[in-house]
């Protein structure tokens, strides 16, 4: 008889039916009755916050637009100097008092320009050759100048007719333009590079548990966790100050370690997610020829493995995490040449995932354990400028 009771109990307990969702909704409604005012108050506060957030978002978007606009405005190709110079004559004769400190007097400028009169004289000639210009410069300034044989070079070609035909003021402008162009360093910027990169990452899987775990009074204790990223990179300069760089990390580790009470014991738990990651970065050179770069971009990751280790027991949790993640990257990089076309870079980057990486399981729907990846990365890269 007892067997029948046991059989009955096991059959009923294995009944696979879930109660309808409306039951939970009703439970929530009932619980909310006691908290109507608190919720209403929180709701009103939330609206205020939303409004503030909206204003802040709009301001931030505007600032971003202005910043991007400024970057493109100030980094665009310079127009020919002759077209932008103010050609109006000086208002008054300059006195030593009216000059800015350190500004040379006209006499000194004239003195400096005097040695290249020979060069200017050449401009009277209809089509002076580059070698003629070079010879005159060497003779008058004593400088050693590079060869100017390249036929496309602006500095070596015939002077524009409009410069030649101008009055003496225009001659001065032409003189300055010519000097600037001739004396400009002949180093051409490298346009395309490839390399390898590695990162040491302080990784976070942000969810309510790990965030609460930062509070020492909570049951869970969140620990610092570290992972490694390895990959290759390739990039190209898209203008004087901007670089577009792609990075592919074969391995991008995300780790989160915490301690929690499980069955009355304070146990250690490690969540380990391994991704492959593709990153697209725009790097902005803070100043011309500066080694400092600010970077911003996006990334997309594909999950390869996911395991959770509680104490020494390892469990595959691949099915509980989404196979894709994506987010934003921002950071700073210092780049310096080491030899020839080789450059070394070191930087700090922050990555923030926009997607909930937890996909849910039988017991916990995804929204109850919303988890986002975040990481502070110390980055090192070695790249070689191909051309």
């Amino acid at each position: 008889m007892n067997r029948f009771n046991q059989w009955y109990k096991s059959k009923i307990e294995s009944h696979p039916e879930d109660p309808p969702e409306k039951v939970w909704d009703s439970i929530q409604d009932e619980l909310d009755v006691d908290q109507v005012w608190h919720r209403l108050e929180a709701n009103l506060e939330g609206r205020k916050r939303k409004k503030a957030l909206l204003v802040f978002s709009m301001a931030a978007s505007l600032a971003l637009l202005i910043a991007i606009g400024s970057i493109f405005y100030f980094t665009r190709e310079p127009q020919p100097e002759i077209a932008t110079l103010d050609t109006s004559p000086p208002a008054e004769p300059e006195t030593p008092e009216s000059r800015m400190p350190g500004q040379p007097a006209d006499e000194s400028i004239a003195k400096k320009l005097q040695p290249i009169e020979g060069v200017l004289a050449l401009s009277e000639k209809k089509h002076p050759s580059s070698e003629e210009i070079r010879g005159a410069m060497v003779e008058s300034t004593g400088l050693t100048l590079p060869s100017l044989e390249a036929p496309e070079s602006k500095a070596t070609g015939p002077l524009p007719a409009e410069i030649i035909s101008r009055d003496s003021f225009s001659k001065e402008i032409a003189q300055k333009t010519l000097i600037a162009e001739i004396l400009e360093p002949q180093t051409k910027r490298k346009e395309f590079f490839i390399g390898a990169t590695g990162q040491l990452a302080n990784t976070w899987m942000l969810n309510q548990k790990t965030i609460q775990g930062l509070n020492p009074e909570e049951l869970t204790h969140t620990n610092l966790s570290f992972g490694k990223n390895f990959g290759i990179l390739a990039g190209t300069r898209i203008n004087e100050r901007m670089i577009l760089q792609g990075e592919f990390f074969f391995l991008s580790q995300k780790r989160q370690s915490y301690n929690e009470y499980l069955g009355g014991q304070f146990v250690s738990s490690n969540l380990e997610l391994d991704y492959s990651t593709l990153t697209l970065l725009f790097k902005y050179q803070i100043a011309e020829n500066s080694p400092h770069y600010l970077a911003g971009g996006i990334y997309g990751s594909s999950l390869k493995n996911a395991v959770q280790k509680i104490e020494s027991e390892l469990t595959d949790v691949r099915n509980e995490y989404n196979s894709l993640d994506y987010g934003l990257v921002a950071g700073y990089e210092y780049q310096f040449p080491i030899a020839g076309n080789w450059n070394l870079g070191a930087g700090l980057f922050f990555r923030y995932g926009l997607k909930n990486i937890f996909s849910g399981n039988e017991m916990i729907p995804d929204y109850l354990n919303r988890t986002q990846n975040a990481a502070f990365n110390a980055s090192f890269s070695l790249n070689y400028a191909i051309f």
Binding site: Y8, K9, K11, H15, E17, Y261, I310
Partner: protein, 181 residues
Amino acid sequence: MKVDLFSEEEVISGCKKGERRYQEILYRRFARKMYALCLSYAGNRGFAQDILQEAFIKVFKNIAQYQQKGSLEGWIRRIVTNTAIDMLRQNHKIESYIEEEPLHTENASENEALDHLGSDEILAQVARLPEGARVIFNLYAMEGYTHKEIAQRLKISTGTSKSQFNRARQLLQNYLTEINT
């Protein structure tokens, strides 16, 4: 091994603070099992859902009193059972018992022969039992109460508990044999 993302301690702690998220985690963790229990007492889905809802509201309102001495599931189960009995009593259903001794069916199937029956079919047959007898049968077979405890809980005599249990079991076996053949 299935990893439990939220330890029982964490869930209880969250529920004690009234955090809705942890309440939902707790509910989803035990809802299926407790719903089956409710179905066995209620006899129909609508009433079972009412019991489940009422029981979990009691769980959340009283979880501060849970001292973690026994298992959480056992504590919730007791609340569900008590809620089921209270709600049946409120509806004046619990006094309905099996008046006559059921006929013994000679070829009453053994458990092995009934093994292929699904829980749905079994619950449907349990629902045919009068409410009072059904509660006694469940308290004894499912919860492991003694007849003395059942008698105290339902304010009936121990003899009534015993006889109702035996009659309910015999009747249920007859029903199950019927559908099995």
